[in-house]
């Protein structure tokens, strides 16, 4: 071992952190080298100076007492807070919280579904009101048709470029429903097609637009202010039919339209 190595090892030698083999090597070198012995002496002297008990900072007796009191106070507060709280009784490790959690999720989900269905219903009611208002306005304003024609091959192409869908325009004349034309209307926040059929003196407005929701073929019937309103959601098209025609006949039209 030379002096450079020895310098590196000396602190650890002094700290008693060297292995037996290295310690022996350092000792051998120290025996031969005066410089390193002097360095060791200095380090030893420094160590003695640093280990002087009076150099260490001492806490006051008063502080010791205060500290003990503070710890005991903390212990008391800890004991008080360790009474099982509702959170702790549902400790994750115990899994007792799972049924409660499932019940909570179910309740929320059912409540949500209920609210959604109510919203759906109330939205349908809003549309029904708008459908009726549109029907009445179309008769009052003498603006029943934009394209007066009993020919479905005239009415259907007329909607092109005015709507983002092509409405089915069935010819129901053989069943006694005369097509008298088509009209562009606005319902449920979107442009929709209105087909106007006639039976005897009764005008019938058929509003239709693409159905993006679930299909429900059952025809719902509503009586409002002396008018009959029919509604169903076809696989592709939502239908609203409104007229002052009697409900039995109007239902026949509904079925005929649905059949197409």
């Amino acid at each position: 071992m030379n002096c450079d190595n020895s310098r590196v090892y000396l602190p650890a030698y002094l700290d008693d952190e060297l292995g037996v083999a290295e310690s022996l090597l350092v000792q051998k070198h120290l025996f031969r080298c005066e410089d390193c012995r002097r360095t060791l002496d200095q380090q030893q002297a420094l160590r003695t100076a640093l280990r002087d008990p009076d150099l260490a900072a001492r806490p006051s007796a008063d502080f010791s007492k205060r500290l003990q009191a503070a710890v005991r106070q903390a212990a008391k507060e800890e004991a008080r807070s360790q009474r099982p709280s509702w959170l702790e009784t549902m400790r994750f490790g115990s899994f007792r919280w799972i049924p409660a959690a499932i019940a909570l999720v179910l309740t929320v989900a059912l409540g949500w579904l209920f609210v959604i269905s109510r919203m759906r219903t109330s939205q349908d009611q809003l549309i029904a009101r708008a459908v009726l208002a549109d029907h009445i306005r179309s008769l009052q304003a003498n603006h029943l048709v934009d394209v007066p024609s009993s020919d479905r091959h005239t009415v259907k192409p007329w909607f092109q470029g005015k709507l983002d869908f092509s409405p089915p325009v069935p010819d129901l004349s053989e069943l006694g429903w005369t097509l008298i034309g088509g009209r562009l209307d606005y319902l449920d926040g979107r442009p929709v097609a209105a087909l106007i059929y006639k039976r005897r003196m009764h005008n019938i407005n058929v509003f239709l637009w693409p159905n993006h929701g679930p299909a429900d073929d059952a025809i719902r019937q509503e009586d409002a202010q002396g008018y009959q309103i029919l509604h169903w959601n076809g696989a592709e098209t939502t239908y609203w039919v409104v007229s002052d025609l009697n409900s039995a006949e109007l239902l026949q039209l509904g079925r005929a339209l649905r059949g197409h």
């Binding site: 700290d15 380090q43 002087d52 500290l67 212990a75």
Partner: protein, 180 residues
């Protein structure tokens, strides 16, 4: 473990190291008030974490908490007090270990040693205090400071060189000789 048992065990195993805890905090912060605050906070933290203490050596365990509390306080103060400029300006000196030939007289006057240690850069100071005053092993210091063993050795070595340098007076002859 009941609360009574916990207090009993805590006061038996941890409280005896109050002197060490205070000494470390005092040397790290160089302030009596800060040291008392830190030790109190560290003792309360130690008490609430005491259930997790598995009867290893209590002293390094407590000193680790004291050291962490001290660092939190020092970092907070660093923004308000410019205490480190002085240390940093002196830190360079430790880069040059003293030449053993150069040093003839090393003062071991307690007041001078105290001043020298107070001036020592924080990294070195904490390693020296833990080793020389508290007698922790390299491994325990490494755990307490959260640095590798090699870093502990190098900080101890550089810290001691630094102390020896400011505690020693170079011989006038050498100085003049160097000037010629």
């Amino acid at each position: 473990m009941t609360q009574q048992e916990k207090i009993g065990r805590f006061e038996e195993q941890i409280s005896p190291h109050l002197k060490s805890a205070y000494n470390l905090a005092k040397w790290l912060t160089r302030s009596h008030e800060d040291a008392e605050d830190i030790v109190q906070e560290a003792f309360l933290r130690a008490f609430s974490a005491f259930e997790g203490f598995r009867g290893e050596d209590a002293k390094p365990w407590l000193l680790t908490i004291v050291r962490n509390s001290s660092m939190t306080l020092l970092k907070r103060n660093r923004n308000t007090r410019a205490t480190l400029g002085f240390e940093e300006s002196l830190q360079d000196q430790s880069e040059h270990p003293p030449d053993p030939e150069e040093i003839l007289i090393m003062s071991c006057d307690r007041q001078q040693v105290r001043q020298a240690l107070e001036q020592l850069p924080l990294d070195f100071r904490e390693a020296i205090v833990l080793r020389e005053m508290e007698g922790l092993s390299y491994k325990e210091i490494s755990t307490t400071l959260g640095v590798p063993l090699g870093t502990v050795m190098s900080r101890l070595s550089r810290g001691r060189d630094w102390l020896r340098r400011i505690l020693s007076t170079p011989t006038p002859v050498k100085r003049e000789g160097a000037g010629l």
